[in-house]
């Protein structure tokens, strides 16, 4: 019968004050022990108009969802979901709080946004996939770079330093005739840098992405996973002395991908959740702050690219290659003080462009 009346009001036309009255009655009758006088007053109200009756019917219908689920199960499930969600938020916040994130996210972003592996950007000599190259250095040393490799050489100092950035090389040391006495020959390989997991991740970035992609089938997904792994490593205290970092990283990435496929819980925090839909009632401010992982990486990459050349070099050498500041100074032929200064300015710039953009984003959303 009340359905028949409802047709008269057609859709959404119940006035807000009537809805409010119905809600007030529901609070009094459904959620309180109502007195007899209350009940009488209620039946008066209910009979007073068809609109009242329809409003009451609707308010009662709202509770039907709750009636469907056994209370204990509903509460448990909702609590589990809330727990999972707050875990995801917390870990993300903690990660962002860490000052260093800018540097590392930039490192990952650098790899993600470049077609060519970024190790080549800094290399003195590099080969593309399928290319082999023979190089003769000033001191007579002969190098053969295998496919997809990159090295940089520094022969100016007290020692001869060849750093393998990527791939593999064959070395035949030269006599070093130009120097007064034959200088020691140092070869630094990626494995040396791999004492830290983070450095290993940066170094094996492309490889890890490929690994996840092969097993889970999607490149964008793979990037997200590796980015998550990166954040996870940042959050933990630095683990050193891992015997085979790449194996561990693969394992972590694999587990993370499986987690993601199952629960998708962490993933949500990376999604751009600024929702400008008119029917979204109240997106919480927490969600507003979320930028997509890709957006963050893009921002940072752009920030790095916008740096002046010298500053960018310092930033990349120190933050991405994890070269100590003193070494950076030696390589670039500038003072350590200058390295410090450039680094500070670079970090400031990155952080500023990051925050500025974020604020702008929220403003736009409102």
């Amino acid at each position: 019968m009340s359905d028949a009346k409802a047709i008269l009001f057609d859709g959404n036309s119940i006035p807000a004050d009537v809805v409010d009255q119905a809600v007030d009655w529901a609070v009094k009758l459904n959620f309180n022990a109502a007195s007899a006088s209350h009940r009488d007053a209620f039946s008066e109200w209910l009979k007073a108009s068809a609109i009242n009756a329809e409003a009451w019917r609707r308010v009662q219908a709202l509770q039907s969802d709750f009636a469907k689920v056994p209370p204990r199960l509903a509460i448990d499930a909702l609590q589990n979901a809330a727990l999972n969600r707050s875990d995801a938020t917390l870990s993300r916040r903690r990660a962002l709080q860490m000052l260093g994130l800018v540097g590392v996210a930039a490192a990952a972003g650098w790899g993600a946004c470049r077609q060519a592996p970024w190790q080549r950007l800094l290399a003195d000599v590099s080969t593309r996939v399928g290319e082999q190259r023979r190089v003769r250095l000033d001191d007579g040393t002969e190098l053969v770079l295998n496919t997809d490799s990159a090295i940089s050489a520094d022969l100016r100092g007290e020692r001869r330093l060849i750093a393998v950035r990527r791939g593999e090389i064959q070395v035949t040391t030269g006599a070093d005739n130009h120097a007064s006495a034959s200088r020691p020959f140092w070869l630094s390989t990626p494995f040396e840098a791999e004492r830290s997991l983070l450095a290993a991740l940066v170094h094996h970035y492309d490889e890890l992405i490929d690994y996840v992609r092969r097993h889970f089938g999607d490149r964008g997904f793979a990037r997200d996973i590796v980015h998550d792994v990166c954040v996870q490593i940042m959050e933990r205290t630095e683990q050193t002395g891992v015997r085979i970092p790449l194996a561990l990283l693969r394992r972590i990435s694999h587990d993370k991908a499986v987690d993601r496929c199952r629960g998708e819980a962490t993933r949500r925090r990376w999604i751009d959740v600024v929702d400008t839909l008119p029917d979204a009632v109240c997106p919480s401010s927490d969600l507003l702050r979320g930028l997509t992982a890709e957006q963050e990486l893009e921002l940072l990459t752009r920030a790095i690219e916008a740096l002046p050349l010298r500053r960018r070099q310092v930033f990349i050498l120190n933050k991405i290659h994890q070269l100590p500041q003193a070494d950076v100074a030696a390589r670039l032929g500038i003072s350590v003080k200058m390295v410090e200064k450039q680094l500070r300015l670079a970090m400031l710039h990155c952080r500023e462009s990051f925050e500025g953009e974020e604020l702008g984003y929220v403003r736009f959303a409102k």
Partner: protein
């Protein structure tokens, strides 16, 4: 209700033929698999069709992705809830585990409840959770949460008005 004006209809049609492929691959990147992407892409257009507002054709892809984003979030929320639901079931002793078909009904109801709860303030949510599935009365909730009866009643009324807005439209 189902009367979509023809101009609107053809605008959506153009949107579909020009950008459906793009939208689907955009979603595939977000969701990690093609099936969900196809589902959500479909939902985007269903949502468009059921809307009263005009299609904004100036920046079609931005428009589509804005809608899609909201749906992607719903999608992940739903997945999270499913996960939590399965966890809850896994901890139940065998005789108490509901039958498969009632499980599905429960899950649907939970999704609806979760959607409502998500948009409430934490204090309101807590009070409402005591009232609704748990079935406490306002005075009992007031004691449990250590707030006044009037506050609890205000919380419950807020929650109900919010449910109403979500279900029947109108702003509260």
């Amino acid at each position: 209700m189902s009367s979509v004006d023809p101009a609107q209809h053809s605008a959506i049609q153009t949107l579909y033929s020009d950008h459906h492929g793009w939208l689907q691959s955009w979603l595939r990147r977000k969701l990690g698999n093609a099936f969900d992407a196809a589902d959500v892409a479909q939902d985007v257009f269903i949502k468009l069709l059921s809307r009263q507002t005009r299609v904004d054709a100036r920046a079609p892809r931005a428009y589509l992705s804005t809608i899609a984003r909201g749906l992607v979030i719903d999608h992940w929320r739903r997945r999270e809830l499913e996960q939590a639901w399965l966890e809850t079931l896994a901890h139940l002793p065998a005789p108490e585990v509901p039958s498969p078909e009632s499980r599905l009904v429960f899950l649907e109801a939970l999704v609806a409840i979760d959607k409502v709860l998500d948009e409430l303030k934490p204090a309101v949510r807590q009070a409402f959770l005591c009232a609704q599935p748990e079935g406490l009365t306002c005075p009992q909730i007031a004691v449990r949460l250590g707030v006044s009866l009037a506050t609890v009643e205000r919380y419950i009324a807020t929650a109900l008005r919010h449910c109403y807005a979500l279900r029947f439209g109108g702003d509260v």
